[in-house]
């Protein structure tokens, strides 16, 4: 993992001191709410429905056991004993008092964490593949580059007052697990023929009111030129992105209005005129400095011959085997596995975790995952380095804390934003609906029969729950004072990225679970065979059978 040097630490401390000063001026009335707002947002502080909310960055989703334990302490001391993991590798605390926030930030800084630019019209927390460094299909670990971008984007002199928020994701796998195409900039790490590291650059993705997938504007930019190239993209956006209408201010609208070709031409012209050799030289030096932090841990050789997994599997430990096949994935080392920790127990709040659970996972990570944890866009956690020989112990331990629900990638592994229970922008509740769906489909055998399925829901058009890229997406709206839930089908993230289509009018809160049930039944009764997944079926037959099932007069 990356570790701060004295200068990184000083940077964060100085930034907290500035924010403390801003908070005090706000509390004394010297700063009005309007003038205070951008600074509070850029330090992760939202004003929600009931209270302030603090959003803490987990840069590129990598977390140490020590850091997770500190998050547990903060959850207990300043929240109500839990934290909420978001879809952008952040964690949110819902009940802090504004005057306490600078102290919380200092406690975070002690473990090399911060809340810098987790909100506001600036470059947000850089996200990446949660399996970075361990995935069997990885081209190269993208995290040194994410760390470079974290530093470069922090307090950027030119790009801190953009037309709108700006999200960057980096993927280093052959498969894209960072959903780069729904980001303002998506980077896919690639090697050229001479083995040099570089990136395919995609621009203009985003969800919200106008969901669009990012377009490739450069097949390959050499690594040392990355920052000059990103500067060019951001400069074109900062200068020409729309500022007259909040809903048209994201870079996707600029790319759309100019056309991809014209946008590319402007970026290339700016890049050529503005290339900075010093930036390239420092990138080379800085990447060389950062890379060793991400060297693989010292894996003890765990011979598969003594693999107790095999033993337990043979011993017909059905629950363990289910978990093993659903919640673990191939590690680059055959004697290790990637373990996914589901934060979606039946009837639970997606992404919520109690302080006690955080401590348990921290200890488990120290014992069995080289002290490392990852956070996913699916609101789950990952233990990235578990020896196969330890899998049974890990499973048992997780199970005691309700963290071993074997539902990864299945229907009850629901992604949901906080919605109207917390969020000031929400038009409908999302948590209770997610809980009701989770309970209705709690039966695991039924979920396995349904097969891989992604259900995601958002409490308003901002789409923080990524419903557009779900196989089944639910969007909570408000129609004449009542909550109304719209269903979209056929979305997908990653390599086969697609935006889902709205099926028809929304459903009332009491109807939405039944509506999902009808969608599922339609698929189950009509699929060719159990190997035809929901998405395959939908792509084969189209939307009509689902429309009939949902809207046909009874």
């Amino acid at each position: 993992m990356y570790r701060y040097d004295d200068r990184d630490a000083e940077f964060v401390r100085e930034r907290i001191a500035r924010f403390r000063d801003q908070v005090q001026r706000r509390l004394r009335g010297e700063l009005g709410e309007e003038e205070f707002r951008p600074w509070r947002l850029m330090n992760g502080v939202y004003l929600q429905l009931h209270a302030y909310m603090l959003r803490v960055a987990i840069p590129y989703g990598t977390l140490s056991a020590v850091q997770l334990r500190r998050l547990a302490d903060i959850a207990e001391r300043y929240d109500r004993g839990y934290g909420h993991f978001t879809t952008r590798q952040n964690i949110q605390f819902n009940w802090p008092r504004l005057v306490d926030i600078p102290d919380i930030l200092e406690q975070l800084a002690e473990v090399e964490m911060h809340a810098i630019q987790t909100s506001g019209n600036c470059i947000r927390n850089i996200t990446c593949d949660p399996w970075a460094g361990v995935a069997a299909d990885e081209i190269e670990d993208p995290r040194p580059w994410c760390e470079l971008l974290r530093q470069w984007s922090s307090d950027h002199q030119e790009f801190t007052f953009l037309p709108r928020k700006f999200k960057v994701a980096v993927s280093g796998g052959r498969r894209d697990r960072a959903a780069v195409r729904i980001h303002d900039i998506g980077l896919r790490l690639r090697h050229d023929d001479e083995g040099r590291t570089g990136f395919e650059v995609m621009v203009g993705g985003g969800l919200g009111r106008t969901p669009i997938l990012a377009k490739t504007i450069r097949e390959w930019i050499p690594g040392e030129e990355l920052l000059s190239y990103l500067t060019a993209i951001l400069r074109v956006y900062n200068r020409y992105g729309r500022r007259d209408n909040k809903y048209k201010a994201r870079i996707k609208i600029l790319v759309h209005e100019l056309g991809t070709e014209e946008f590319r031409r402007q970026v290339e012209a700016e890049y050529t005129a503005g290339r900075r050799p010093e930036l390239a030289r420092l990138t080379v030096a800085e990447i060389a400095r950062i890379r060793p932090f991400f060297a693989p841990p010292d894996y003890a050789d765990r011979s598969p011959g003594t693999d107790p997994c095999a033993k337990h599997a043979a011993a017909d430990d059905a629950a363990f085997r289910r978990w093993l096949s659903v919640n673990t994935a191939a590690h680059r080392r055959p004697d290790h596995a990637i373990v996914e920790i589901s934060l979606k127990p039946p009837g639970g709040v997606p992404g919520n975790m109690t302080a006690a659970q955080m401590r348990l996972v921290a200890t488990l990570a120290e014992r069995c995952s080289h002290g490392e944890i990852r956070v996913t866009a699916e609101q789950n956690l990952v233990l990235p380095h578990v020896a196969r020989a330890d899998l049974h112990t890990v499973w048992e331990t997780l199970d005691t804390a309700g963290l071993a629900t074997p539902n990864l990638g299945h229907l009850s592994d629901i992604v949901a934003c906080p919605g109207l229970d917390f969020c000031a922008l929400a038009t409908a509740r999302s948590i209770p609906v997610a809980q009701a769906i989770g309970r209705r489909f709690a039966d695991l055998d039924r979920q396995y029969e349904i097969g891989p399925l992604k259900l995601k829901m958002s409490g308003c058009i901002n789409a923080c729950g990524h419903h557009h890229v779900a196989h089944i997406g639910i969007l909570g709206l408000e129609k004449r004072g009542r909550e109304s839930y719209q269903i979209t089908l056929g979305g997908s993230g990653g390599d086969e990225a697609a935006i889902g289509r709205v099926l028809g009018p929304g459903f009332a809160a009491e109807e939405i679970v039944d509506a999902v049930e009808r969608v599922i039944t339609t698929y189950l009764t009509n699929r060719r065979d159990p190997r035809e997944t929901f998405l395959d079926y939908l792509r084969r037959v189209g939307f009509q059978p689902f429309k009939d099932a949902l809207y046909a007069p009874v």
Binding site: D5, E10, R18, G133, F161, N238
Partner: protein
Amino acid sequence: MPLFKNGRFVDDPWLFLADGEPLPGEGMVVVSLARLLGSEAPALADRDGWLGVSLAPAEPVEKLRPWLPRLALVALAFPVFTDGRPFSTARLLRERYGFTGEIRAVGQVLVDQYPFMVRSGFDAFAVPRGSELRGWQERARPHLVYQPDGRGEAPSIWRLRHPDPGPASPRGIPRMTTA
């Protein structure tokens, strides 16, 4: 309007002319871009005395290019402080066009933005009336940053870490070898 420059408040020798106002025979004047490029252009070019121009966020700095040798001041307006376009404009003026005159922030100029402005190339700040002037003297200081390509005195962590980074290898950055 109080003018903050080089860490203190100074007298402002410049006269900002509204578009209808007659051009004085001498003295340091600032005109709008429209006026600079309009029918008075020859008079402005030949006029004795220093000349400045003020630019709204949407006005392209590229248009100033032929005028830059003749200009001693460019004022960049922040109608609202959240409009970040002038940051790009200032950098282009300094870094691309090599402008060495004064770049002044005018409009809704907040002390909390001072570090970003200085690093983008601003060196004068028209502090809005009613601002706490003492606050400016206390808070307008450079602080540690990462970016190596800023102006002003803010130390860049990357430069401190790599005082002599050497030339970028023509072979680029080789793939990371960990496997």
